[in-house]
Amino acid sequence: MRKKILFIEDESALQKTFGDFLEKEGFELISALDGETGLKLAEKEIPDLILLDLILPKMEGVEVLKKLRENPKTKDIPVIVLTNVDDFEKLEKSLELGVKAYLVKTDFTLEEVLQKIKEELKE
């Protein structure tokens, strides 16, 4: 069974690079370009992991995270935050909400992100 990853990210360039990369690595990728769609897809598809950006149209990433945690169907899905917001408070807030990793886009390579995803899915 291919593992399902939901990628909530409004940059279509990143949807393309990550989509290509992760599909080649054998994952099934579902993409959402805004927070609301992301939340709906999470409930409908129940992915194995969610990659979440923080600055999103329609609904902010932290808000999405809160709503995911409130819903019993989605509350146990592991979430990795992938963002360019290198902000201490956002980081603390996300960790409080139980994210597995907080990755700043400029500081990580695709390979490193892939490692984090694999680590999470193994458990």
Partner: protein, 309 residues
């Protein structure tokens, strides 16, 4: 409130325009009253004195009003500038990370084999994307420091391990510059207390400076870490071009670069030491620099030792 804008500009009270205006007004009234009461005893007709005093008071008040307005405009434009830099550098991060990821895919060869003669050009793209990334990061940090929105984590850090990792990463860069790095660590160094990522940034900045400002011929960079009383002492010494005496007092200011630096040959923004100083001081330490032109530079800093509460 009257002094709310002081907070907005992140200025201490004594440098805040509206506070200065308030104090000037008080002094004004006080000195007018004093001169009136003194003059009253000497001059026959106090009405003339009153008139002159009232006129002077108005004049001084108008003058100080304009002076403070000018200060306020300056403070405001400085605030807007910092905010603009923060927004712009943050906005830059999105296209830079898009570039970086796309480049990584291309260079991995998964989208078609790369011809040997293309590798060098890919390398140029990669290096310059990296430079853009560092620049955006530095600018964002500087604007955060300026608006006082700069927070440091407080964690236990093994400075020896941290330094060894940085040195390892810099070894190819040092070799390319014909520089040898030597480390002297005191045994059983205690852990320090600070923000690991930020302290790593400081060490990287200092090592990068030491290497890139080394002279063209074979050169040595020495790093020493030891315990001094209740602090950890870190020192990095190079045999580089040094900093002229007249420049040394400005060296920790932002965008300042020594006048003897061939600026087109050695890339740099003049932000590194400014950021390093802010990080070290906010972590409860001190940073120091000694330099002699053409002989070399020694930069040292101290950081508090980690203590279990």
């Amino acid at each position: 409130m009257l002094f709310e804008e002081c907070k907005k500009y992140h200025l201490p009270l004594y440098r805040c325009p509206s506070f200065i205006f308030f104090v000037l007004g008080l002094i004004n009234i006080f000195s007018i009253l004093t001169s009136y009461s003194i003059a009253n005893k000497i001059v026959e007709d106090p009405r003339i004195v009153a008139l002159i005093c009232a006129f002077l008071a108005c004049f001084l008040l108008i003058l100080s009003y304009f002076a403070t307005k000018t200060f306020e405009a300056l403070a405001e434009s400085n605030r807007i500038k910092s905010e603009f830099v923060a927004i712009a550098s943050h906005q830059l991060k999105t296209p830079i990370s898009n570039l970086k990821f796309a480049l990584e895919i291309l260079m991995s060869g998964k989208k078609g084999k790369i011809e040997p003669e293309q590798i060098e050009y890919f390398q140029i793209l990669k290096e310059n994307t990296n430079r853009l990334k560092e620049l955006a990061k530095d600018l964002l940090l500087v604007s955060k420091i300026e608006v006082g929105d700069f927070k440091l984590k407080k964690e236990e850090v093994d400075i020896r391990e941290l330094t060894e990792n940085v040195v390892k990463n810099f070894t190819p860069f040092a070799k390319a510059h014909n520089v040898e790095i030597k480390c002297y660590f005191e045994e059983n160094l205690p852990k320090i207390f600070g923000d690991k990522e930020q302290i790593k940034d400081v060490i990287e900045t200092l090592l990068d400076n030491a290497i890139k400002y080394s002279k063209k011929e074979k050169s040595l960079v020495e790093i020493k870490i030891c315990k001094k009383q209740k602090e950890i002492y870190f020192e990095i010494k190079d045999q580089g071009i040094g900093i002229p005496k007249k420049d040394q007092k400005y060296i920790f200011e932002k965008f300042f670069r020594g006048s003897n630096v061939p600026k087109n040959e050695i890339p740099g923004t003049g932000l590194g030491l400014f950021i390093a100083k802010s990080i070290i001081e906010r972590s409860g330490g001190k940073i120091n620099l000694k330099s002699e032109e053409n002989k070399g530079t020694t930069v040292s800093f101290t950081l508090p030792i980690f203590q279990k509460a």
